[in-house]
């Protein structure tokens, strides 16, 4: 190619780049390298755990490490780590590397004070779910401690008045499990389902929607007739059937939620992407020699990010509520402490020990409410068109 020489011939002005710019450049490269390494490490870890280590044994114990020996990493844990790694490298790190844009988003977001308040609650519950299970032991059965009210309250759950004790700050349920620990472990389950299912659903939805809109023609037709078919598929009955066949397991509940609820995302992203497809920068990129996948990935999807964020914050609460509803009906993996299970456990003693159902119910309600409020403000803040004042 003749272009190579031409390029070398060019005299670069302003080549006096300072140290700072060097370091940011390395950081960006380190980010993509870090992502590949982290995801690779997780994949190797998962394959090792799945293929080599025997079932019900912690891979850490198998390797002879006393640290973390008690942690038998489950499929959900692996997916959760994957999700967190993807979010870290594709959402958190770019925002960190681009303080100007992040600052702009934050100033926009801050305008909505209710959302800021909700944001702190969401972060609080998320941290509780993320770190709590590491710091606290799981709730244990202790029938002698059943029906203890929260600290400072005296109640008569079984006729005789008893007061709360500091060992169980939020009281206990009918099996003597501490409410605080149930909440913390339940937050982990809710966080897992929220993040993993939402990532799966919005990921598929965004790619399908943008591809359909940009490529058009027969591809669009086939993709969206399939979306029509899937949107009338009775997912809930399918889930009950799977639970009936294989027993309830959190990982496939999460995956089915994710893989069967991207139709709405795909439709909304398509509608938005159809407009973006007409933009001059898409044509400019094509004129510069970009392939279809480049245009979709680099131009269409980033410009429909506000739609994706909107849909994500709309479907995320529905996953949390959906899982809680399944657990409430008794379709939850034994040994997981879902908020839904805890609420269901307290429904028999609602009049005598109301804290058992109401405390997790309260958390569920506020978590969902706050996510909605944050999503609303995020939609306004990250809209790329809002910035240009058009």
């Amino acid at each position: 190619m003749s272009g190579e020489n031409d390029y070398a011939d060019l005299t670069f002005r302003n080549l006096n780049l300072d140290e700072e710019e060097e370091s940011t450049n390395i950081q960006v490269t380190a980010g993509s390298l870090g992502q590949i390494l982290t995801l690779g490490l997780l994949t190797v870890g998962y394959l090792f755990d799945y293929l080599v280590v025997t079932e019900n044994t912690s891979m850490f114990a198998y390797m002879g490490s006393p640290v973390l020996a008690a942690w038998d990493v489950s499929s959900v844990d692996w997916m959760f780590m994957y999700t967190l790694a993807l979010l870290l490298f594709n959402a958190v790190l770019p925002l960190y590397n681009n303080p100007r844009l992040t600052g702009y988003y934050w100033r926009q977001f801050r305008k909505n004070r209710l959302a800021v308040f909700s944001g702190w609650i969401v972060i609080g519950i998320s941290l509780m779910g993320l770190l709590g299970p590491i710091l606290l032991d799981p709730p244990t059965l202790s029938l002698t401690d059943a029906y203890l009210p929260p600290v400072g309250i005296t109640a008569r759950p079984e006729g005789t008045p008893i007061s709360g004790v500091w060992k169980y700050p939020l009281g206990t349920n009918h099996q003597g499990q501490g409410m605080l620990k149930l909440l913390v472990y339940g937050a982990r389950v809710s966080l897992q389902i929220a993040l993993i299912s939402t990532l799966v659903a919005t990921g598929i939805g965004a790619v399908v929607g943008a591809t359909g809109a940009f490529v058009g023609g027969i591809v669009d037709e086939v993709l969206f007739r399939y979306v029509d078919v899937q949107s009338v598929f009775p997912v809930f009955i399918f889930l009950l059937y799977l639970v009936y066949l294989f027993g309830a397991e959190l990982y496939y509940i999460i995956l089915i939620f994710g893989f069967f609820s991207w139709e709405g995302t795909a439709r909304l992203v398509r509608a938005e992407a159809l407009q973006r497809t007409e933009e001059a920068y898409v044509q400019a990129s094509e004129a510069a020699g970009a392939s279809r996948s480049w245009v979709i990935g680099r131009h269409i999807i980033p410009n429909v990010s506000s739609t994706i964020v909107t849909v994500a914050t709309l479907i995320l609460p529905s996953f949390v509520l959906g899982e809680a509803a399944l657990a409430f009906l008794g379709f939850s993996e034994p040994g997981t402490f879902s908020w839904g299970t805890t609420i269901a456990g307290g429904r028999g003693s609602l009049s005598t020990a109301p804290w058992i159902s109401t405390i997790p119910g309260f958390f569920l309600f506020f978590f969902v409410l706050c996510v909605n409020s944050v999503g609303d403000a995020l939609t306004d803040a990250v809209d790329p068109r809002g910035e240009s004042g058009e």
Partner: protein, 345 residues
Amino acid sequence: MSDPLLSVSDLKVQFNTDAGVVKAVDGISFDVERGETVCIVGESGSGKSVTSETITRLIPQPPGRIESGSIEFDGMELTDMPMKELLEIRGERIAHVFQNPQGALNPVYSIGKQIAETLHLHRDVSKKEGRDRAIDLLDRVGIPDPTKRVDEYPHEFSGGMKQRAVIAMALAADPDLLIADEPTTALDVSIQAQILDLLRDLQEEFNMSVVFVTHDLGVVAEIADSVVVMYAGKVMERGDVYELFEDPAHPYTQAMLNCRPGQGGERTIIEGSLPSAMNPPDGCRFHPRCPHAVEDCRTNDQPPMYERATTDQEVSCVHYGEGFDPSVIRDEETGTVATDGGVEQ
């Protein structure tokens, strides 16, 4: 003279619509020599933008379709080139600048990233090299303080600055041919002049050929080496810019020069409107609006490109053919345009 860089011959582009087949470009031919600026000029709907976008097959297909003809670029036929090879040519060898600079920049990327995009698409360059090149180009297209502005976003640029940035994007890979589709139409007059000056300087510096699409004859006079006059998907006249302005051969070119505002003389408006591209008239496309139309203009197809005896111009008008006298089309009624002056030199 060596082979032309770009040679379009008998190109026909059609669009299949619900209402019927639109013949947007109906058999046009022109050459672009190396280092030359060719202006394609015509009114809205004459097919000039479709022509420019067809060169690298940017028109949406379907509904668009290259019906026949050939586009030869540096010895390569572009009309049936596999997409993969065509993507290598787009941006790297043939670059585009579009009309609307507001929309041509993606709001989510910094200016520098967008300029470097072409490089990342075609060459194995690091982010730092891309950024350096972007700074260099921004400096070249006259953006002050490029080291700072390279990291800014499109909404922080004014309209004229955006068009400069878009030109920088197009130049990133040092193309051989720049196709500029009305790059100054959306800008105000003082900025227009700056951008035209810039394009002319850059053309010399980068030794590019330029295909410049416009409806503005003032711009044509400013920048063109040669001119292709299009009307309803056909070429009416081709020629050197000075000859064409001095002595327009085709009645359409004459009429177009006559209806320019601000040239002192009487302005004549071209009566009627552009014919339907779905159902064009027989004979010369321009005959329904032509003051000199004779019986031969209304039959057969568009006349062939006759070479003019006195100059290098080529004209698609029956009056220049065998047995006709071209002098009839320069009667007192329309007058000769050239003597009115108004040609900027």
